[in-house]
Symmetry: C2
Subunit: 301 residues, 2 copies
């Protein structure tokens, strides 16, 4: 507490009240600072002005970060003042073709199911590369492409991932989850045993880059990174389905830090999804679920 | 300040220090309370146990909500204890077919660009219905299908949407946005004039349902709703590209409440994205951007 007196040069009698004033002031300040930091992380109309009120984007940007970088982030080779514009003349389909193609694609995608029974049969690496390339065509906030797809085929690493996920899931099921969620999953016969994690020929771990790192080591803001990476996962799922491969979309609870560490991913990357990928097992079963009808998901105005 | 003395019954001399101690205690308490409330909204390991630490999901569930509903949510006709399981035997492609199909799909998706110059030419409604149906095949947390696609073709409504978005965007650009973001967009020659909003034959406004409403009026938790709806948007973008239609993925800043009100969407729905959809204008231009190479987005382990 000595340090609080430093520079106040106060005679004894009034010492204690002043000390307390200093403490009060200190607490007020730390309270406001804390509040500020939390606002910044939440929605921060003032500090993160470009984040929509309705979205829960966790893009990492701070006022300090902005102030620090506004001066020289233009120097990056990556950031050109004016990108050349080119004409865009894609192939045009006739109305008949549009109807046919959109109907066929719907039929193909409508056969997709989340499959937990994956065959250990090998799948050519080139097919996996093609689906990842396809995911990489996704749009992203300010074209930051904030995704990293870690494709695991190593048996030992898959085994270790399974251990990490199952250990955490068991804790989740037993201790952390609300009854509702456990019940919802029970209904779909999911439990914490994830055999597919070391049976599937590939595990694709999708990381969102919460910020980028410029060549000089400075941070680069990745706008709407979680939404961008989720969109790319949608395109990835479409690509897998188109290739005849199956997966199940999983978001392993609280395994992110351990898996990031296991796979030696940098601090700016956070696990968004884990997709076991392969051919469906010959005895694969899926719950007989219905999808909502068009009238229940589309409103015409 | 009288009330702070109540019950302390303290003689004068030591009055001030005690008063300050009470203030300190009060500040500490309000600080902790505030912190607690924010945690609940953020990640809340204890109160929202199923939400991953690394994800910023804003699914609406509270302890109170859980406690209130655990008793009778089973009564809902929607929630069956055991869903029947059926065998899943999709078509199997040969290795050659898998390679071909995955390569072709990549080529098709790689031609997709975000296009701001949309032709007013009509597009058959059935094509739009097919792409929305396709988006509706997306997986979702506990199969909650938490999406609503509002398809606007009415001229007056499109005009009103444009007004709302442009008014807000102008404010965003001028007052709220950080220099970095304005610069990033300038680089892509975006500004707050959104002509496509009343030129495109369709606007698809994608709403995420932050919770569901059961027949009896009780709330139903929609796990990971923002991620689920973003995945469905990825599949929607793939479907549009496959049909020869173009769009640009936009997240209009702070327009959600006004647009929700204009379109009379219920309180549980929040705007995630706004996609103007149509054929590309014959003179459409796009920035000459490169995509990252495979080696920069895929890590093999």
């Amino acid at each position: 507490m000595q340090v609080l007196y430093f520079g106040l040069g106060n005679p004894c009698g009034q010492q204690r009240p002043r000390l307390l004033c200093v403490i009060v002031g200190f607490l007020f300040k730390s309270f406001r600072r804390r509040e500020g930091r939390l606002n910044l992380t939440l929605s921060g109309q003032s500090d993160r002005p470009w984040v929509d009120e309705d979205l829960q984007d966790d893009t990492q940007i701070t006022k300090q970060h902005n102030e620090e970088e506004d001066d020289d982030w233009l120097d990056s080779a990556e950031e050109e003042e004016n990108v050349r514009h080119i004409s865009y003349t894609p192939v045009r389909y006739s109305v008949t073709e549009m109807l046919e193609r959109s109907g066929q694609f719907y039929s193909l995608m409508n056969l997709r199911r989340s499959v937990r029974f994956i065959s250990p049969e090998p799948v050519p690496r080139e097919v996996i590369e093609n689906v990842i390339r396809t995911a990489g065509t996704s749009p992203s906030g300010a074209h930051t492409e904030p995704w990293t797809f870690v494709v695991v085929s190593d048996t030992e690493v898959k085994k270790r991932i399974r251990e990490i996920v199952e250990d955490e899931e068991l804790i989740n099921y037993q201790q952390r989850m609300g009854l509702k969620w456990v019940h919802d999953l029970k209904r779909l016969r999911t439990n914490w045993v994830k055999e597919y994690l070391d049976v599937a020929p590939y595990l694709i771990l999708v990381f969102k880059q919460t910020y980028g790192v410029l060549p000089g080591g400075k941070k680069k803001t990745h706008y709407y990174n979680e939404i961008s990476v989720s969109i790319s996962c949608g395109i990835l799922l479409a690509a897998l389905q188109n290739a005849g491969l199956v997966t199940v979309t999983t978001t392993p609870l609280n395994c992110g830090p351990q898996l990031r560490s296991l796979l030696q991913r940098p601090a700016n990357e956070k696990l968004l999804m884990l997709l076991p990928v392969g051919l469906p097992a010959s005895d694969a079963m899926v719950p007989e679920l219905k999808r909502k009808e068009l009238k229940d998901i589309m409103i015409s105005v």
